[in-house]
Assembly symmetry: C2
Homo-oligomer: 330 residues x 2
């Protein structure tokens, strides 16, 4: 199947049927505590409740469903900091395809273990996603296999099912806040929301310690930037042109928060919702708190995109913020 260069609402609705062969809708819960904290009516979309703990898996199963027999036989090659790789490993296992995944040295060990457990071959290479990506693209070409970029259209279409679910459950949502790593999730939310009701605001957000996608979005140019965030899910150094194009059309704004605000939001999620968020997953909460005047009184959805936080990192965060007056570990 040839997908349109820019997926449409119809493409996303079509993909949803495939997604639901493997996955179930995730909950959208209202939290009165977070609502008081932000001064808005706050729902959380629990993408951390998926089997692999992150939204990406919706994309992988849709992509695998559209591979040709020869593509399946040749195997899949990709690079990932973790959740995209888990998605491809999950889908490859479901379809009996071999997956080879390059990860940066020092990648989140629990994500790497999870990929291996699903049968993927893991190659550690380079200091970040982009270095690993360059290596594996060359390898895929040499071996005749298909390289899967993390923002391919079939992935965006599959991922978009989460945005359809938000509108099913809360048709009068006024704003959705989405973390941006590669931008597939924000692109999908933008396409869905603006196609159905253009008044629904869609906000991208990222760590200020990895602002390449935000700088590119603001300027309209593809700008690489320093990448020093602990939140590997948004640790993008070289921006993705296809999602930039979609996001420039569909996002209302693109906001940055600092890593320390993200860490605090991990604790706030634990305290107020008893959910573990990974760094990327906590960014929308940090964004809603920092820019609360933008959301005052509105019905907003925070996309808790993933929960795959290393327990050792959690320990450090809890130790660091112990006693901070606005966290109060009670």
């Amino acid at each position: 199947m040839q997908l349109n260069p820019t997926p449409t609402l119809h493409d996303i609705i079509t993909a949803r049927k495939i997604v639901y062969q493997y996955l179930k809708p995730t909950p959208l819960h209202y939290y009165s505590t977070l609502s008081e904290l932000i001064g808005a009516k706050v729902w959380v979309k629990h993408e951390n409740h998926h089997p692999v703990g992150a939204f990406k898996v919706r994309g992988g199963v849709n992509l695998a469903a559209h591979l040709s027999a020869s593509e399946k036989a040749a195997g899949l090659y990709t690079a990932s900091t973790g959740n995209h790789g888990q998605s491809i490993a999950f889908a490859a296992r479901a379809y009996g395809i071999k997956a080879t995944i390059a990860v940066p040295e020092g990648a989140n060990p629990s994500k790497v273990k999870a990929m291996r457990r699903m049968g993927a071959e893991i190659i550690f290479h380079g200091k970040d996603f982009d270095t690993a990506r360059e290596m594996i693209m060359t390898m895929a070409e040499e071996k005749g296999g298909k390289f899967i970029g993390p923002t391919e259209e079939a992935l965006i279409c599959g991922v978009g099912s989460y945005a359809l679910e938000i509108l099913d459950d809360l048709p009068d949502v006024e704003a959705i806040i989405v973390p941006v790593g590669g931008g597939s999730s924000a692109s999908a939310a933008g396409i869905v929301c603006k196609s159905i009701n253009e008044k629904i605001e869609v906000f991208g957000c990222q760590s200020a310690q990895a602002p390449s996608m935000q700088l590119s979005w603001k300027s309209g140019e593809i700008i690489s930037a320093q990448m020093e965030t602990f939140a590997e899910g948004v640790a993008t150094r070289v921006p993705f042109p296809n999602t930039q194009r979609i996001m420039r059309e569909h996002l209302d704004d693109f906001l940055l928060v600092d890593d320390n605000e993200i860490e605090e939001s991990i604790l706030l999620y634990l305290k107020h919702t008893h959910n573990l968020a990974e760094g990327a997953g906590a960014i929308p909460l940090a964004t809603a708190i920092r820019y609360k005047e933008r959301f005052r009184g509105k019905k907003i959805v925070l996309v808790l995109s993933g929960g795959n936080l290393n327990i050792n990192k959690l320990r450090k965060i809890i130790a660091k913020y112990r006693g901070a007056h606005d966290i109060k570990l009670q």
Copy 2:
């Protein structure tokens, strides 16, 4: 509506329609890491993914649906260490009923806050559940309101929907391990499993630091026992005769684990599934590990009954087990 003294499979199937007016099915996920650890095929039933973070809410909405107009007008009175109270508060708010809930002094503050936020009036009384219960029963009688015990038949019927979901998702499950506080969840699982396929084993489990329900089950007599567990969800001192009767008919065994094993299982859940379990919620995992020879090679389901762990308690557990060789906070 008059419910049978012992609920039947039909009662539970009937209640499910009411439960789904307010709640959605929760996920049943397979975890290869836990499977390796236990030497079985291990699924987790994620009752921690409910809006109030625990299975109890299924019961509350079913109970409220069956109240008479005069019962609704007079209001509900109950006692709780937290999750049952949240369930009643959730249901009372949904039906516009006033709820008054007695909690023991020192009750989990996040559970108390959640009940208040849903509009319930909270009265602190006594050192444990049973002391609070005696007080509120007297108050209900004086005020002419309905006292709701935590193991009423309408609650068991609503709760039973989780067991139906397990059999829908995994019809060839061989054993289900359920934590016992009041016993509503284990009773419901017993009724469902033994009615559908009596070969499915159902195990109750509890903290050895609060063994009253287990001692009563083993002996056939109602035996009160010391209650010193940190896991308030299973902190039962005075056993409940109605669930004892059902559990004696339907449980295959009733196992105990120590509080320190429960704490370790909270960490194992965080590490391997990225889910926060409260003490009661982690008991089935601790049980499967301690008694692993009972489950070897089988398809088993651990009921993660709730996730409402206090973040300060989590901090202490992480600090206590840091470096323990079988946890390895990596």
